[in-house]
């Protein structure tokens, strides 16, 4: 009971402190530079003024982020299964994945636009590229960190490779997988925003948050820019909350990272 209350109060307190610091800096800035950090009031006004653009942009970016995130999950799990097969496979394929991750967006974005067209598809694809790597590294590490004694038990049971994967390595990898998932859930919305800046389009669906951010930045609408950033963060928070919930469901009854109520 006291616990639950704290669990709500403390984060709220943190938020309050952040807003207080924000306001203090805003007031402390000279009149000349205040525009760089608009106050909370101005940002709230911006939310009101720009609600049509922002909600449309948020909707577009959410789609891109979710599709990219989903794609990253599916592909990274498959890739991790492959990579977990042996150190040789890893040393052969990891460099490829790293190269994909490290190719700068100015190269990737135009290719992507030419390939699948600008807008949602490109944004989802670029988001995928951004969210994929942390997932694949964590999931692979999880898959290869399985307790050797349990692996031997499965060998003895003459379990097939698949059985060993699904009954042993995959569940044992979940703590790593969910760690990667949290990183990816945080990177996906911001990845979608960055992708949108490089490959978004106003066609059909209208631009996303990245598109809006470029417009606001070029017009020095800093309050609106902050509103865009806050909207991105909210998307990330929501995605993270879902991931945290799933992690709890999958792990709390056995993993040591969750406090045991039955001590």
């Amino acid at each position: 009971m006291r616990r639950t209350l704290l669990q709500i109060l403390l984060p709220a307190l943190t938020a309050a402190v952040v807003i207080a610091i924000w306001m203090a800096i805003n007031l402390g800035l000279s009149a000349d530079t205040r525009f760089l950090l608009p106050g909370p009031g101005a940002v709230i006004d911006a939310f009101g003024d720009q609600r049509t653009e922002l909600s449309r942009a948020a909707w577009n970016t959410s789609q891109g982020a979710l599709i990219g995130f989903g794609l990253a999950i599916v592909v990274s799990v498959l890739a991790s299964l492959l990579l977990s097969l042996s150190p040789l496979v890893r040393s052969s394929l990891y460099p490829l994945l790293m190269a994909l991750q490290m190719t700068p967006l100015p190269i990737l974005a135009p290719i992507c636009v030419l390939w699948v067209g600008a807008g949602l598809k490109s944004v989802a694809l670029l988001t995928f590229v951004i969210a994929f790597f942390p997932l694949v590294v964590n999931t692979t590490q999880g898959l290869i960190s399985t307790d050797r004694n349990l692996v031997e038990f499965f060998d003895l049971c003459r379990a097939s490779r698949w059985q060993q994967l699904f009954h042993l390595r995959v569940p044992a990898a979940l703590p790593y997988f969910f760690t990667g998932l949290r990183i990816a859930a945080t990177l996906s919305p911001i990845g979608a925003v960055v992708a949108d800046m490089n490959a978004g389009t106003s066609a059909n669906d209208g631009g996303g948050l990245g598109f809006q951010a470029v417009i606001y930045a070029s017009q020095a609408k800093y309050a609106a820019l902050f509103a865009t950033a806050i909207t991105t963060c909210v998307l990330g928070f929501l995605l993270n909350a879902v991931v945290l919930g799933l992690g709890w469901l999958a792990l709390h009854h056995w993993h040591d990272s969750y406090e045991r109520s039955d001590r």
């Binding site: 004694n149 038990f153 499965f154 003895l156 003459r158 009954h167 042993l168």
Partner: protein, 274 residues
Amino acid sequence: MAVFPLDTAPRPSPLLGRMSAPPTVEFHGVTKRFGDGPLVLDRVSLTVAAGDFVSIIGPSGCGKSTALRLIAGLSPLSGGRIAIGGQAPEEAAAETAFVFQEPTLLPWLNVAHNVELPLRLRGTPAAQRAATRARVLDLVRLGERAAAHPRQLSGGQKMRVSIARALSLAPRLLLLDEPFGALDEMTREHLNEELLAIREQERWTAFFVTHSVAEAVFLSNRIFVLSANPGRLHTEIAVPLPYPRTPETRHSPRYHEIVANVSRVLRSVVDAVA
């Protein structure tokens, strides 16, 4: 004390396509070292007949667990050869169940699922699995803890789950590494008797590591005494008590004589080390 038939539906051996028989096990000059460490097992040779119940005793660290792991094919030999029913350990058609020295349970599965896991991996239908699981859990007296996770169990309970899991398999080769060490004397005797009762129903060759000479004598028809540093086969002792053995066996003078004899051998082995 009721004895339940355990998963006795005919199972084809993966290689022979028919019910497999308990295998013979032969060690020919088996040598084992880890990496470039010292010798752990030194030229161990022994022959075990099909259906033998063999106990291995010896001081801590003499290579008992290592020997079982070699039989199971979990660890490569450094020298010599092991034949199980004439085949190399990795290829042996015999179905092996291993109760490891540590419980080795999957922490994310509850007791019931842990016990059912090997059957599940074999594709046994759910109904049959559930029946077998209920039987073996009753056997180790853990029927009521079926829903608990391993971390909620006592040390002895975890070990009993591991034993139940092995028994659910109706194996042809049974490797037991101090399975009853963490149990109280009464539970231990109960499981000793159950084990022998199951042996009357099914047929397997068993290797049983224990520190209890009495237990070794009660269960097995042959006892191998290992000496340590490096592990060598010191003595092989036959136990000429007839099966089936019953609680009364423990009170027979013959039994006590053999126990005293084995203890003396073991003591001489350990004293040689100390």
